[in-house]
């Protein structure tokens, strides 16, 4: 099962189909061009192999969900996509390559900093900095040396609106971000991520620490964001994957078991393991 092939025929790039896809038009969307191409990736934590020959493409401006039981490697793979795993000692890509827009991101010539500017990330535990809401949002811009007030103000409003947080915090932009509720903090982190205008947003179980109402808000947000961004989301919650993703990849024990259109995975999986997991027989 090392090389499970996506059953949907998605390998062909059809660039003309990109313009304004509507959420209902699922089939059309599945034919979107590939933006991230994961090629036979092996990944190691020290001596132990965490990912075995992962091989599939991620489509532009679609929501791809990674599901699977704990420890199946889905978060690891996600963190490979913006090289956050570089920060963990003793990790390495053993074989294969990950290409974003055709560039191998593990190539020595790649600037990790630029990569991370273009591939944003939202973490499992919301991690706003102990600064004001405003400063949290503009942090990424300030890093790039942008200090013009009008530019920053504009970005803050646009990002917070984008993260559906503007109405709630517009009157207290300069109070501490730590005073927000859990759901608001997570949406602030999303706002912070989109403030630097990435092309891809990686979300690592963004709702696992949130209550149901906050979860709904974040999911709605994901729906809006996918008009502009490619989103990869790792989730434990199968309903969530079903609700907000276009494509779902199921991982088990460090291997990709199955990847397909979300509806197909949830209604008619080809693999027995996928079916067992989705029907709640394990995991």
């Amino acid at each position: 099962m090392d090389e499970s092939k996506p059953s949907a025929q998605t390998a062909e790039v059809v660039p003309t189909k990109v313009a304004a896809p509507s959420p209902s038009d699922k089939l059309a969307r599945l034919n979107a061009p590939t933006i991230i191409d994961i090629n036979n990736v092996d990944f190691y934590y020290g001596a132990s192999k965490a990912l075995h020959g992962i091989n599939f493409p991620i489509k532009n401006k679609l929501v791809t969900a990674f599901i699977g039981p704990s420890g199946c490697g889905k978060s690891t793979l996600l963190r490979c996509l913006n090289r956050m795993n570089d920060l963990v000692e003793g990790t390495r890509i053993g074989a294969g390559s990950i290409k974003i827009s055709g560039v191998d991101i593990y190539d020595p010539s790649v600037d990790v900093i630029e990569l991370r500017k273009r591939v944003g990330m939202v973490f499992q535990k919301s991690n706003p900095f102990p600064k004001s809401i405003y400063e949290n949002v503009v942090y990424g811009l300030r890093l790039q040396g942008i200090n013009s007030k009008s530019r920053l103000d504009e970005t803050v409003e646009r990002s917070l609106r984008g993260a559906a947080l503007w109405e709630e915090v517009r009157d207290r932009l300069h109070t501490s971000a730590l005073g927000l509720s859990g759901g608001q903090q997570q949406r602030l982190c999303i706002a912070r991520a989109i403030a630097v205008e990435p092309e891809i947003i990686l979300m690592d179980e963004p709702c696992s620490a949130l209550d149901p109402i906050a979860t709904v808000k974040v999911e709605e947000l994901i729906h809006q964001l996918k008009q502009d961004y490619t989103i990869v989301i790792v989730t434990h919650n199968m309903q969530q994957a079903g609700r907000c993703s276009d494509i779902t990849a199921f991982f088990y024990m460090g291997r990709l078991i199955e990847i397909d259109a979300t509806e197909k995975i949830f209604t008619n999986p080809t693999q027995k393991q996928t079916e067992d997991y989705i029907s709640g027989r394990f995991g």
Partner: protein, 432 residues
């Protein structure tokens, strides 16, 4: 079933008795420690505070409140009988009184000048503050029975003695027992500032490396091992190290500079450990969040890690200050002079250029830095050592002994207390 007979009633067992006894014993141990500490504090405060608070004096001259114990230089105490009457005088008073003295001292004593002014004095053995100050310094310790010489002692003429030397009998002198401890305070402050600056810079940078950059490996384990072992090296060995490397190796001789580096290296492990702990206390999410936004490592550390770790680093480093201020052994042979009749900024600048070990030739405009840094200082801990071991213990020397100990203890304890309080505040404030 009555309440008394139920199976869970409290019974007087041997085990319970043993428990009570042992607990009381342990409690006694704890309070013995505290009691001993309290005794030390109260004796030193009781006997030492009069020297400080007794010499507070108000007068019209700026800055209106004067303290002759804290802000004048030490002097030799002269005890003698003049026509059968017991007198206690500081060296300056004594020479004013007898009219003796070297040509240098007499005019100096005669012209009232601010002893603290950064003036360049001629080299003299005897420290000579203005007569008014000196008089009051002594008056603080004079027994009620001994009359105080009037503050308006007329300026003596240098040439002829005013009194018959034969009238003076039973003349005894005690070094350092009169005057104050100003040079010692200055020296301690200078040592602390200099060495803490060096230690903080080196320590924080090392800690940043260890906590943010380093990866597990033999080199890092070697660094950590070195830090742990450095922390256990006795302070006197640091003193020897300072002698070997700075005093002799670098040719700095006994100097402020040698003291700074010796103390800085001594306190380095404390600073590194404390800083690393504070850096590690900054949540991982701060770093990841910043990096995921495309910040470079340095941007992340500088804008999103260090600012949150800095209060913790500084708080823990205050304990390092207490250690630097409190240690004597490392400065014995590297920085401390028993008698330094000049404050570091009063050192004379004679030649235009001079050769100085590693620095090569030093030209005139920088000579004062050279004199400042390459000259030893007095320090409070060293002064305590000197006055408690080199001069006898009696009623006359008690003032300077307990007074210095009191001032020193107060300074170090204030530093330690502020560390404890800061830590409590920090713990309450920083929660993420």
């Amino acid at each position: 079933m009555t309440t008394r007979a139920h199976p869970f009633r409290r019974q007087a067992t041997v085990a319970a008795l043993k428990e009570t006894i042992v607990f009381w014993l342990l409690r006694a141990f704890t309070y013995v420690i505290l009691g001993f500490g309290a005794i030390i504090f109260s004796i030193i405060i009781y006997k030492g505070s009069p020297a400080v608070f007794g010499s507070i004096r108000f007068d019209g001259a700026f800055p209106f409140i004067h303290n002759d114990f804290l802000f004048t230089k030490p002097q030799t105490l002269h005890i003698f009988r003049y026509k059968g009457e017991l007198k206690q005088m500081s060296a300056a008073q004594y020479y004013a009184f007898t009219g003796e003295g070297t040509p240098e001292t007499a005019p100096a004593a005669a012209t009232p000048e601010q002893p603290l002014a950064p003036a360049v004095h001629a080299t003299t053995e005897v420290v000579t503050p203005s007569p008014a100050r000196a008089t009051n310094a002594a008056s603080a310790l004079l027994a009620p029975a001994t009359p105080t010489p009037p503050a308006e002692t007329p300026a003596p003429s240098a040439a002829q003695p005013k009194i018959d030397p034969n009238d003076i009998t039973e003349h005894e002198t005690y070094s350092y027992a009169a005057g104050g401890i100003w040079p010692q305070i200055v020296g301690t402050v200078l040592l602390v500032i200099g060495s803490m600056t060096i230690a903080l810079i080196l320590g924080i940078f090392s800690a940043v490396y260890l906590s943010e950059y380093s990866k597990q490996g033999p080199l890092i384990s070697a660094i950590r091992l070195a830090i742990v072992n450095l922390a256990g090296v006795p302070s006197i060995v640091f003193g020897l190290f300072g002698v070997g490397i700075f005093v002799i190796g670098m040719g700095w001789n006994i100097s402020l500079l040698a003291g700074w580096f010796t103390l800085a290296f001594m306190v380095l492990p404390v600073i590194i450990t404390a800083s690393e702990e504070s850096l590690r206390a900054v949540p991982r999410g701060f770093r990841e969040g910043s990096l995921a936004l495309g910040a470079t490592k340095w941007q992340t550390i500088f804008s999103n890690v260090l600012p949150y770790a800095l209060p913790g680093i500084l708080t823990s480093s205050v304990l390092g200050i207490a250690r630097v201020a409190g240690e004597t052994a490392p400065i014995l042979f590297t920085a401390a002079y028993a008698t330094s009749d000049k404050l570091p900024w009063e050192l004379s600048i004679t030649p235009n250029r001079m050769h100085s070990g590693f620095l090569g030739y030093v030209e005139y405009p920088f000579l004062w830095i050279h004199d400042f840094a390459l000259h030893g200082v007095s320090a409070l801990p060293y002064h305590i050592y000197v006055v408690s071991s080199k001069i006898p213990q009696n009623e006359y020397t008690e003032r300077v002994q307990y007074g210095t100990a009191f001032v020193f203890l107060a300074v170090v304890m204030a530093i330690a207390l502020s560390s404890v309080l800061l830590r409590i505040r920090l713990r309450n404030r920083l929660k993420w």
